[in-house]
């Protein structure tokens, strides 16, 4: 709903696309609960996924959610983008296990590692994880390693990133890697890719322009409520 929350917390819960809150680990139990409901309603072949960063694996909700999903054997695919930094905090200050996948093993959850800069590898590993979960294999844990090439937000110049990491294979730009792969395989030419880029940019620019032309919410007209049953609302006490 416009103006209620920042635009990265989007979602369409009625269509199964959960709207995240800032506490990312907290979405694991929510997706698990949605899957539990689907099972209770007798739906089969369902799978659910949620994604968080290396920092999110340190939250209590991550551990509680993954464990509860494992106990219920829910078809949950949990994807960790291990991008080496949670805001400015490097992995060495985030966890002491040798590998993030160790966290899943402790809960009896199969874990998969993949080079997060390699699109083809990601598609293959994620595809297998999704299939396994869908077929009754319980939760699957996928860690893709890569390096965040920009800041945590637009305000962040990410000067804290170790130059050695930028120069390492983790520091590859996954889009450039994928383009080179497509060209090498002769699946697309450089000109075609440049065309796709222009097409995508045009679409994004047009959408941004459309949204910017929409009026801002007017506090005098905008109706917003914390409760769907408005008769119970107490917004009137706002002095």
């Amino acid at each position: 709903m416009r103006g209620r929350d920042g635009n990265i917390h989007r979602g369409r819960p009625r269509e199964g696309y959960q709207a995240m809150i800032s506490h990312l680990g907290a979405m694991i139990p929510v997706v698990a609960g949605a899957l539990l409901a689907r099972r209770m309603k007798g739906e089969t072949g369902v799978v659910g996924a949620t994604c968080l960063g290396d920092g999110g694996t340190s939250t209590g909700a991550f551990h509680e959610g993954l464990n509860a999903a494992a106990v219920e054997k829910l078809p949950l695919v949990l994807v960790i983008a291990n991008n080496q930094y949670a805001y400015s905090t490097p992995g060495s200050r985030q966890y002491a296990c040798a590998n993030l996948i160790d966290k899943a093993i402790g809960y009896g959850v199969p874990a998969h590692e993949v080079d997060g800069t390699d699109l083809q590898a990601c598609l293959q590993v994620l595809g297998e994880a999704v299939q396994t979960a869908r077929n009754g294999g319980g939760p699957q844990f996928v860690v893709g390693s890569l390096l965040r090439l920009v800041g945590h937000g637009e305000h962040d110049d990410n000067q804290y990133v170790d130059p050695a990491l930028k120069a390492s294979p983790l520091g590859r730009d996954c889009l450039a890697v994928s383009e080179a792969f497509l060209i090498e395989k002769h699946w697309a030419t450089g000109e075609e890719i440049a065309g796709w880029r222009i097409e995508a940019k045009t679409e994004v620019d047009a959408t941004a322009a459309k949204v910017q032309r929409e009026p801002s919410p007017d506090p005098a007209d905008e109706e917003w409520s914390a409760l769907s049953e408005r008769q119970f609302g107490e917004e009137i006490y706002r002095s």
Binding site: G33, K41, E229
Partner: protein, 320 residues
Amino acid sequence: MISYLQALNAALDKLLADDPRVFLYGQDIGAFGGAFKVTKNLADRYPGRVLDAPLSEDAIIGMAIGAAIEGMRPVVEMQFADFSTCGFNQIVNQAATLFYRTEVSCPIVVRLPSGGTPGGGPFHSQSMEALYAHYPGLIVMTPGTVEDAYSMLLEAVAIDDPVIFCEHKFLYNHLKAESLPDVALPVGKARIARSGRDATIVTHGAMVHESLAAAEELVEDGYEIEVVDLRTVKPIDTDTLLASVARTGRMLCVSESWPWGGVAAEVLARVSTEGFGLLDVPAQRLNARDTPVPYHPDLWTAHRPTADAIAASTRHLLEM
């Protein structure tokens, strides 16, 4: 005779029987029937719909939210209200904001076995209604009678928004009624538990009964004390409070929880700002002492408001 606890069990039984969307999730609530036996026999009667959960309040509430988004009506049990702090984030940031953020409602009920019992101690005695009432997006119920335990739990599941259901452990087995009710006051409506003309005691939960006992004690002194049971602390029925104060001119609010920013503080704020002219003397409040809840029964009795303490405070109010 049916006890407060049996009324809760009967309500859950009816909900499970009537509505396939309802399921129960919580620690030890399955075959064991729950730490207090509120869910006794329900796992047997409704296979696959009364689920034992790991010791993970965050996951329990988060999963209830996800299931509610998918159209279910989950009722989750926190083993003790005190343990809901471990699921606090899911309640106040996820459930309470869902409709505001997405216009998709979040019909979950979080049952909180609340309040003090002898020997409960600091972590098995808390009353958390003020904490949850502070957050927009939650309905907070504090049933103080067998009838309300039953009818308000049915209502809580029918409501499309998240409901924090503060059932009182002290009343579980102590409080009994002849039968279950067919009709009930609407949600958000307070109840005049006893009529009177000399002073109003506003209260909720187990304190309703301590306050009624205090009012009875004051009959010997020739006083007629009105007792108002809030039933829901959010929304709060300011109209009924003001109407009572208009009759009596004096008000004491009694709450089992701590004083700072509590339900009594809110009641006093409402009555003082909206009904100042109705008061003959300043409104008063009586809360638990501002310390953790003590373990030893003697200390516990001194910690929370009792009938004697309420009677003393009411006498003070009447003599002002």
